[in-house]
């Protein structure tokens, strides 16, 4: 917290990040050459697909929304020393819960949205509750338990969708939600909806919470110096549990917004990889919610651009996953190469 506010540390972090970006992009270029494509064409196509015109920019923002909200979920976890890799699963359950409220109940307009979102949040928090309990009570590694929970969540929602709530005669998807549960759209030409604003508000609120609230400070301390926090009279277990629950709740919210705002129904594989993208965005921003806005926008642009990439070139859209992974690897290596003593003292992402 303290080092992040010092300009010296910030400059060093930013130059390090920029250098890592360059290394990752050049490695990505090598891989693009390997698959017989021109890196310049690929990158310009990506940019064109992301920012070509107003519609494309809206598309980018549409992709950014779930990544941003999932990124905030990851940020909350990272700050409290918890690696919530299960955001993907929470997203799926949240999405399903919102869709279920959306098509199964008839409620007045605004209330319907609120109830659906509330259920999504609850579903996300409930899904992380068991791993969270074992993490704080018995120290069971939360990375592995939440990853395994992801697989179960995906299969479970598929089961719900196909065996219990399948739309008659349709694809593997639920009936569409009632129009009363739709999230308001921002523009007429895009499905971009109020979810983006919710995400931005959430990012600022989370940042303010960690910056000014004493509970936020307690969470940061539990994450970075648990012994100090315990000595200061904080119930480390309780805070850790709360952090994971909050993280899961936001993950569920992301799913709810995706369902109510974009698809208006739940379908198998409705939001592939958004949870992981959010986690990567949060890692790249080093756990800062405001920074996550920028990194989420970047990843959203990559995703939106990859759609055009698949149309205009022979390259697969998964090439952006490769670029994302390379960036994370380059950043994790901390290429600024600080002195050894420096490193042992404060290791990057030693959450």
């Amino acid at each position: 917290m303290k080092t992040a506010l010092l300009p010296d540390g910030l400059i060093r972090t930013l130059t390090g990040q920029a250098l890592a970006f360059l290394v990752a992009l050049s490695l990505g270029a090598v891989i693009i050459l390997l698959i017989d494509e021109n890196p310049v064409t690929v990158f310009t196509t990506l940019m064109r697909g992301a920012f070509g015109d107003a519609e494309k920019i809206a598309g980018t923002l549409l992709q950014t929304t779930p990544i941003l909200i999932c990124g905030i979920a990851a940020c909350i976890g990272l700050r409290g020393g918890m690696f919530n890799v299960g955001i993907e699963g929470q997203l799926f359950l949240g999405g399903f819960a919102a869709a279920w409220v959306g098509f199964a109940f008839a409620l007045p307009p605004v209330l319907h949205v609120l109830v659906a979102i509330g259920c999504a949040v609850l579903a996300g928090a409930a899904w992380v509750a068991i791993p969270a309990f074992f993490r704080v009570r018995y120290g069971t590694n939360e990375v592995v338990s939440t990853i395994l929970a992801n697989y179960i969540a995906t299969l479970l929602t598929s089961y719900f969708t196909i065996f219990l709530f399948k739309r008659p005669g349709g694809w593997s998807e639920t009936p569409p939600i009632l129009p009363t549960a739709y999230l308001p759209e921002l523009f007429s030409f895009s499905r971009l909806n109020i979810g983006l604003l919710i995400g931005l508000f959430l990012a600022i609120a989370t940042a303010a919470f960690f910056r000014w609230a004493s509970t936020g400070y307690a969470v940061t301390m539990v994450g970075s110096a648990p012994k100090f926090a315990e000595y200061g009279g904080i119930n480390v277990r309780k805070v850790g549990f709360g952090v994971l629950l909050a993280s899961g709740a936001v993950g569920g919210l992301a799913g709810g917004i995706e369902t109510l705002g974009v698809h208006h129904r739940f379908m198998e594989g409705f939001a592939p990889g958004f949870g992981f993208d959010g986690l990567i965005a949060a890692l790249l921003a080093n756990g800062s919610p405001i920074g996550t806005i920028i990194t989420a926008l970047f990843f959203g642009a990559l995703r939106a651009g990859s759609l055009l990439l698949e149309v205009d070139t022979t390259a697969s859209r998964e090439i952006i996953t490769v670029i994302q992974a390379l960036i994370i690897l380059a950043v994790s290596a901390d290429l600024m190469m600080r002195r050894r003593g420096d490193r042992t003292g404060e290791r990057r992402w030693k959450f």
Binding site: Y138, I152, F163, E318, A325, S332, W349
Partner: protein, 331 residues
């Protein structure tokens, strides 16, 4: 009862052995890194990339051995990247591992599209699977039970032989001792003049070797094909096993047999008309339950305390009887 006897029979044991092998190989690989004190969540990616390159290699070279070698080489490259970043650059293990998993997923799909022009899966196209080993005389000796020990692909034998081999390595060789020291007490290793970096590199590469074999077995063993994300969480299950087994080879074997059984049982149940999505979730649920139930630290406090007091009572008791004896003998 009839249903039970059709589910539980020799074929189920054979299926269990088959499904156990890949997860056993990858978990034994992870045992090296676990013992050396590295938390390796990147097993999944190493397996996946090996599975892809094994298929690719077998098409290029026209032989299953060539595929195996190229697959293992790809896993070794991933293991090396993991080692360089985690050991030399001291990056966060979880971040690097997850990023490598994502990289493996993206790379296999991109390369598949670039080389074969398809998405989803590679089938046929001259993939050569691993041959089956028939032990001579097994059929004469055991009759219908011969399939329990004969007719598997070679990597299954490798997997099960590797278990006692690893026990020997950890217990009887210098390398095994070094790996354990580096993992348990790095300070002591440093004081003894053991190069922590070198030992951890060796452990990470040995892990890559076994994970590569596991991946090659997935795509060249019983099914000769590659599908998108075909490792489907096996690597993560292996990590779960490693957490509650602490990397001990026999316990790893026990854990892997449990998952192999859950896996083959779930395949079996699918044919009985249970909803496939729920049945497919069974292995993950078993892994998760086992992780929660068996995690070393997860033992309830009262059991831990009982064991501790019993140990104390047992260790103090003989000491008490010895002390009065000793002076009387001397006098």
């Amino acid at each position: 009862m009839e249903v039970l006897s059709t589910i539980f029979n020799v074929a189920l044991i054979v299926a269990t052995i088959r499904t156990t092998a890949p997860i056993l190989l990858v978990a034994l690989g992870g045992s090296f890194t676990t013992k050396a004190g590295i938390f390796n969540i990147g097993l999944e990616g190493q397996m996946l990339i090996a599975a892809f390159f094994a298929v690719l290699g077998s098409i290029w070279t026209g032989s299953s051995l060539g595929g195996l070698v190229i697959g293992v080489a790809a896993a070794l490259v991933f293991a090396l990247v993991f080692a360089v970043l985690v050991i030399s650059f001291r990056a966060n293990e979880v971040v690097v591992g997850l990023a490598l998993n994502i990289l493996a997923g993206g790379m296999t799909v991109s390369l598949m599209k670039a080389i074969f022009g398809t998405r989803g899966s590679i089938v046929g196209r001259g993939i050569v699977g691993l041959p089956k080993v028939h032990i001579p005389g097994a059929r004469d000796l055991l009759g219908p039970y011969a399939q329990l020990i004969s007719g598997y692909t070679p990597l299954i034998y490798v997997a099960f032989i590797a278990v006692p081999l690893l026990v020997l390595i950890y217990g009887r060789t210098r390398l095994g001792l070094y790996i354990r020291v580096v993992g348990e007490k790095p300070e002591a290793a440093e004081a003894l003049g053991i190069s922590i970096v070198k030992v951890r590199y060796i452990a990470a590469l040995l892990c890559g070797l076994l994970a590569g074999l596991a991946g090659a077995h997935m795509s060249l063993g019983y099914i000769t094909m590659f599908t998108e994300n075909m490792s489907s969480g096996r690597g993560f299950m292996a990590v779960a096993i490693l957490i509650f087994s602490g990397g001990d080879p026999w316990r790893v074997l026990a854990g892997c047999l449990l998952f192999g059984f859950a896996d083959s049982l779930s395949l079996r149940l699918q044919t009985f008309g249970f909803p496939s999505y729920l049945v497919l979730a069974v292995p993950y649920a078993v892994a998760l339950t086992a992780l929660f139930a068996l995690s070393w630290k997860a033992r309830p406090k009262f059991i831990r305390e009982t064991i501790e007091t019993m140990q104390r009572a047992l260790s103090i008791h003989p000491a008490k009887t010895e002390t009065p004896d000793a002076p009387s003998n001397r006098s």
